[in-house]
């Protein structure tokens, strides 16, 4: 089956000039991945790993100084794969929300704070549904009821709802048109753990019912372990490892992934955990070769010179690491 999203060789740089000082930040540097229909694909990475830039680029929500320098992004909704950046503004707005929607980190950025929730639904979704207003509102109420939300919240203001409730409303908003592809940017990071678990469960259930694909971005490895079907790990603007979630957690091949998993503290586990030395590299002047080599316990000579290619070592398990290619386990 055709993947719903194919990203190949994508490069997106911030290109800036401040009073004559030119700076180029390679936030996304040569990323190739595809996302299948009916799956949750997770992207994990630290701050400045380029994960936010990647999803901005995939959503074509970029503004200067961020520019796409190379590569392509193709979505296949119904009419075969089409390059997102070749579409006109009209074609794009026909796709947005109907086929491609977003769940953001701050629900307050989506919901207008001075208008009732109902208006947000009308503003975002009404023209994509092609229904008369009473039928549309009925659909919205049905959808809310399906998500265990009272229809009465349509008449409330965002500030009257708790953070968890607001985030569930934004999820309802993003899914009311039954889109094929949903981009979720740290949707649960600001939530308390009890609420977080409910919200994640809701995202999972909706995805399965609709058969949609979700691109889920967070830095929290435990969330990825519990939610995603496949997982990509980003480091310093590059994808370093990608595998089905369980395989990735049980047998990580990249030393960075292995560290991320092992350093997580666990209740009831007293073995000491360690942080990595060094710091994530500056994307304005990344180190040559493998960008992880200055902090890597397995670093070899070749790592300082050559960028490791992304190779599929096991079925569906890709990794970009010279050591892993030689069969050295992290």
């Amino acid at each position: 089956m055709q993947p719903i999203l194919s990203v190949s060789g994508l490069k997106a740089y911030y290109q800036m000039r401040y009073f004559g000082v030119a700076r180029e930040i390679r936030a996304v540097d040569d990323i190739t991945l595809h996302i299948n229909r009916d799956e949750i694909y997770g992207i994990a990475g630290e701050s400045s790993s380029g994960k936010s830039t990647l999803i901005k680029t995939i959503a074509r929500a970029i503004r200067p100084p961020l520019n796409v320098v190379g590569g392509s992004i193709a979505f296949d909704f119904e009419a075969g794969p089409r390059d997102l950046y070749a579409l006109s503004e009209e074609q794009l707005s026909a796709i947005r929300w109907r086929h491609l929607s977003y769940i953001m980190q701050g629900s307050m950025n989506v919901l207008n704070p001075v208008r009732r929730i109902r208006h947000s639904f009308v503003d975002f979704a009404f023209r994509h549904m092609g229904l008369p207003m009473p039928a549309f509102l009925q659909r919205v109420e049905d959808h809310l009821a399906h998500l265990s939300l009272q229809p009465g919240i349509l008449e409330s203001f965002p500030h009257e709802l708790s953070g968890g409730m607001r985030q569930r409303v934004t999820i309802a908003l993003a899914t009311v048109c039954r889109p094929d592809f949903i981009i979720a940017d740290e949707p649960t990071t600001a939530l308390d753990v009890v609420v977080q678990k409910n919200v994640l469960g809701m995202i999972r259930r909706l995805q399965q019912e609709m058969g949609a694909s979700v691109l889920f971005v967070t830095h929290d490895m435990a969330v990825h372990a519990n939610l995603c079907d496949r997982l990509g790990i980003m480091y310093a603007g590059r994808l370093v490892e990608e595998a089905p979630t369980r395989a990735l957690f049980q047998r990580p091949l990249h030393p960075y992934t292995a560290h991320l998993i092992r350093s997580l503290p666990r209740i009831g586990d007293d073995t000491p955990r360690h942080g990595l030395e060094g710091r994530p590299p500056s994307l304005a002047a990344p180190p040559p070769g493998c960008r992880f080599h200055p902090r890597c316990p397995l670093a070899m000579d070749i790592c300082k010179r050559e960028v490791p290619p992304m190779e599929e070592l096991e079925s569906g398990h890709r990794v970009a690491c010279h050591a892993a290619l030689q069969g050295i386990a992290p």
């Binding site: 999972r204 350093s263 990595l276």
Partner: protein, 285 residues
């Protein structure tokens, strides 16, 4: 009777809320009591979710806001009674904060080392620049850094982990008896986080400094703390030895909190998984 290092007696904090006509009072903290002993330094974790009042509590312990009711005694002295500058400085020599976001705790427009010199001069009796630099370097060595790495650097030139360690070093310069750390690793990247967490435990052992560690993360609290309290809506719902409370929570809220923590092991356990996710088992390609 020996004086406790820190003692909170029935501390409450209410904020006036509501609009012009409807004045209502919101309790951020209500009836909190606990004490830390001077002779036995410990890592004391305060666990709570947003709105539990844990940060309000930290601000009161630091003397940044006064409790509405109850008293906070530091070595037998009321923290809110410290009015004069001399008393405040004496208090700061004993109690120091570690703040949440190191990129915020250091003014982005100021060189990082300047804060260490200022602390050395004002609180550790360094009379000239050489003495201040020596004190700063000594404290930085304690956290695995050196002045040479930091001299003249701006915050953005350092990683979050380095900055937070510099913040801890700064707090250590006056050789305090108590550190109050409010979510000190929540803004730090995962690969650097454990370095900071381990450092707190290490400091308690090496420097015999007590630490109040405020967090929402049960797993981190389990890793570093000796005693914990779990707070909800401004009240303590459960307290005790960290290992015992987190292994066998008694209060319904504590139990719910522990069960909600997502873990990697739990991800493939049928009972704890988010939903029955049949297609996650195989390698569906």
């Amino acid at each position: 009777m020996t004086k406790a290092l820190l003692e909170l007696r029935d501390v409450s904090k209410t904020y006036a809320g509501g609009g012009l006509l409807s004045r209502r009072h919101v309790a951020a903290v209500s009836g909190v009591s606990f004490s830390l002993q001077a002779e036995q330094p410990e890592v004391f974790a305060i666990i709570g979710e947003s709105g539990s009042g844990k940060s309000s509590l930290a601000r009161m312990v630091l003397g940044l806001s006064a409790p509405s009711q109850g008293t906070i005694l530091f070595r037998g002295q009321d923290v809110t009674a410290l009015r004069s500058r001399r008393d405040r400085l004496a208090f700061m020599r004993q109690v120091q904060p570690i703040l949440q976001n190191p990129f915020e705790a250091f003014n982005p427009l100021t060189r990082v080392d300047r804060y260490l010199y200022a602390t050395a001069r004002n609180l550790a009796g360094a009379s000239d620049q050489a003495a201040a630099e020596a004190a700063a370097d000594g404290a930085l060595q304690q956290v695995g850094l050196s002045l040479a790495e930091l001299r003249g650097r701006f915050p953005h030139e350092l990683s979050g982990g380095q900055l937070q360690r510099a913040a801890i070093a700064r707090a250590l310069i006056p050789r305090p008896a108590l550190l109050v750390a409010d979510e000190p690793v929540s803004m730090i990247d995962a690969s650097l986080r454990m370095t900071i967490v381990n450092l707190f435990r290490d400091l308690r052992e090496r420097l015999r400094v007590s630490i109040i560690y405020i967090t929402h993360d049960l797993a981190t609290a389990y890793t570093i703390s000796d005693r914990i309290v779990i707070m909800r809506h401004g009240e303590i719902v459960e307290s005790g030895n960290a290992r015992e409370v987190l292994a066998h929570p008694q209060h319904p809220y504590s139990i719910q909190l522990k069960e909600s923590v997502l873990s990697i092991e739990g991800a493939w356990n049928k009972e704890t998984a988010l939903v029955s996710s049949g297609n996650r088992e195989g390698s569906r390609l």
